[in-house]
Symmetry: C2
Subunit: 453 residues, 2 copies
């Protein structure tokens, strides 16, 4: 019965899905912009109403920052509980870069454009509509919803929320729908995330910029010295980090894992196109996939200091700061990596100050076992192909927090595609992924409701 | 007679000097600011009136840019001609960095504060008042004044002015008063200038900044790659340029020249203090003096690109540009040095584009011969000590232009001190240097008027 009527439910739900997505997209829940408290509140209230409209109990839970929307569909005390995590905050958007206004929903032939469509409002609503269908059709599963509003700023209050609601957050497993397939032709189930560690390197050699004619040759150049140390830290052409001990704790991906990455449908050509990159550091698919999924990085995000305007102003700058981060993989420990870098830099140039700015631990989860198998079957059912097990190169702080406190298996069932413009201009989503997603989630709910049988 | 009354002339002129300097300082002739056409015009008109007030014929000569003020004191067709070069345009000034408003003249105990006091309005007026005295006392010398208004932007129209006025610019020698002593205790006569060659290095690796989680490891980092190439070009800690052939054409300073640099009263401590530098690349006085006077440099003025705001935004930037210049010494040829750098960079990283932005040739002039000897005697007469012959580390484009077109010996008789804050905040000048300067110029005029005897 559950599957016989599913196609018609999905078809019949399309208009409601589009209306709800449109209404949600038009609330600019940009967590990075400090003046958005009113919009965050509106977004949370709308989300609560949506959850209530599908028959969940729902509430807006306060935190020291933006609230979290928490909902629950009660099936029965003896049934297992699944927790679905999504986030409703979005990246900023510069309207001048977009075809259309980023916060006006634009729909054409089943393609939805607007900030947040794919990251992560579209996937959140797909899961919600699947949950209603499962509940109405008697799937014996309690479903908790955690809809966060601070994911794009690193989830600073998420741990506070989890710790303060531990009693009602008890769960048998967790479903996160905030990840990206490698290719539209092949579903992907990520089972790992890179961590991240942010730092600044600062060098001040004087009290003011000086005249490069009068002092040049003997005045120290802080930009030049930072460039030198950065070049000693890593080889920018290959990305290889040269700091002793940096790779010591890296757990290499197994042959089987790498094969699964390769099975994802990845091609360097599509990757280059999706990210508008002219060339990659290397083109061998295996090397690329290992580099973005299972290896740490050293990245220079910017150098502040010196003259930035038109032409050349011939000063010797007095201060320079480089903004740096490392993506980390299991079993690298962020604080340990920071100390390695700081000690290395101190040895090379004792005047450079390294400041630790924050970190997220790397995460590795299930790619075998009953939840992973259920996920795999659900994806195949909805999208027609066996998914590849991959890893995400980015970091989701909330995942590590949930792992540490809720101690349950976590499964990623994402619906975003590289061409959806995740974090980029003209972000979009589509009915193909949304409708497939609803079916996938229904199947997954059904599968895991029967795991204890 | 000439010298008997000179002290009282200087004393009696002080009030007039201060009034004229004050009036001139309060015209903000900032050539770097595009909206200053009216102020440039006012400054030029005031200068013309000053020259007429001392009995010179004077006119404001148009160029495609700011005008040049040209004046002449006629002594007689059979007498030699001296051309005095100064500039009346000034560096920009940020009022928030200064004690007082930079364009309100402030006088206290013979110390004059304001933008342009030492660079170069004070020295220009000292020379002008000396010229009046010489003329009134029958020194047989014609004196031409060239007061430029574009020196601080590299004299883009100065060659145009010289070429269009060649007939009336014929001269036996040139006096430039726009240089700095090394120490107040010892006069200095520079006889050389470093040249300069400006370029940008640009690297574009994609069409937009990308997510360092999704792409980091395989997306090229243009800041990192520029840092690497810059570190291959030179060792930022020592300043040593590593590009093959870079030093090939450098004419080393002789033992005698280096001894003269050392005689200037230079100490690394005073140099550090004057420029507010924490440490120098090296502290040996001889090494420092060679580095700033007689050796070329490689300088990074800024790197534009990547994220510059607070905290860390974890993007991989798509474009970076480094602003670079080299100060050059005789006999380095700027275009040849550019080609060496461009070819080196192209070999190391073919995607980096080097763009030539402009150059000034290095200059070396007289430190022996009759004009140098006359300058030396004039300085000793006015300031009580034998001057040291030094070189300036900076570049004055107009000097090379005058050398090429007017083909006459050029002598630098500057009056600025390191503590005057040349190009810096709280720029100042003082009556000690101005009054000594008037006496020095009178003696120099007298000396060279008798050279052909």
């Amino acid at each position: 019965m559950l599957y016989e009527r599913l196609d018609s439910y999905v078809r019949d739900s399309r208009e409601e899905f589009e209306d709800k997505l449109a209404e949600m997209i038009e609330v600019p829940t940009i967590s990075m912009e400090p003046d958005r408290a009113g919009d965050m509140r509106r977004g949370a209230e709308l989300a609560r109403q949506y959850l209530e409209s599908i028959g969940a109990r729902a509430e807006v839970v306060e935190t020291p920052g933006n609230p979290v929307v928490f909902g629950r569909i009660e099936a029965g005390a003896n049934y297992p509980t699944l927790t679905i995590y999504n986030h409703l905050d979005v990246q900023p958007a510069d309207p001048s870069e977009w075809h259309k206004d980023p916060f006006t929903f634009f729909k054409e032939n089943g393609r939805y454009e607007g900030r947040g469509t794919t990251d992560d409002k579209g996937p959140a609503l797909s899961a919600m509509m699947a949950a209603r269908y499962a509940a109405q059709n008697g799937v014996p599963l309690n479903i908790n919803f955690i809809w966060e509003l601070e994911e794009e700023i690193g989830s600073p209050n998420f741990e506070h929320f989890i710790k303060n609601n531990l009693d009602r957050l008890s769960t048998d497993s967790i479903l996160v729908s905030d990840t990206i397939w490698i290719s539209r032709s092949r579903p992907a189930i990520p089972y790992g995330l890179r961590g991240a560690m942010m730092l600044t390197m600062t060098l001040e050699t004087g009290a003011k910029d000086v005249h490069s004619g009068l002092t040049g040759g003997v005045a120290r150049n802080p930009i030049g010295e930072l460039c030198k140390v950065i070049s000693e830290c890593y080889d920018a052409e290959t990305g290889r980090v040269k700091i002793k001990g940096f790779y010591d704790d890296v757990v290499r991906a197994t042959r089987q894992e790498v094969q699964s990455f390769l099975d994802s449908g990845f091609t360097p050509q599509k990757f280059k196109k999706a990210h508008e990159l002219k060339k990659l550091r290397f083109d061998d698919p295996e090397r690329v996939l290992k580099a973005i999924m299972a290896e740490p990085t050293f990245e220079v995000h910017g150098i502040a200091g010196g003259y930035q305007g038109p032409n050349v102003k011939t000063i010797v700058p007095h201060r320079a700061e480089a903004k740096i981060s490392c993506r980390l993989v299991p079993d690298q420990e962020p604080k340990k990596v920071f100390r390695l870098i700081r000690d290395f830099v101190r040895e090379k140039n004792p005047d450079i100050k390294c400041e630790f700015l924050g970190a997220l631990e790397p995460y590795i989860g299930e790619f075998t076992g009953k939840y992973a198998d259920a996920a795999s079957r659900a994806m195949k059912y909805a999208f027609g192909r066996q998914p590849a097990f991959t890893r995400e190169g980015g970091s989701i702080g909330a995942v590590v927090t949930m792992k540490n406190h809720l101690r349950s298996p976590i499964i990623f069932l994402g619906l975003s595609l590289p061409e959806h413009g995740y974090h980029a201009k003209n972000e979009n989503f589509d009915w193909g992924m949304a409708s497939g997603g609803i079916k996938m989630f229904v199947r997954y709910f059904d599968e895991i409701s029967r795991l204890s049988e």
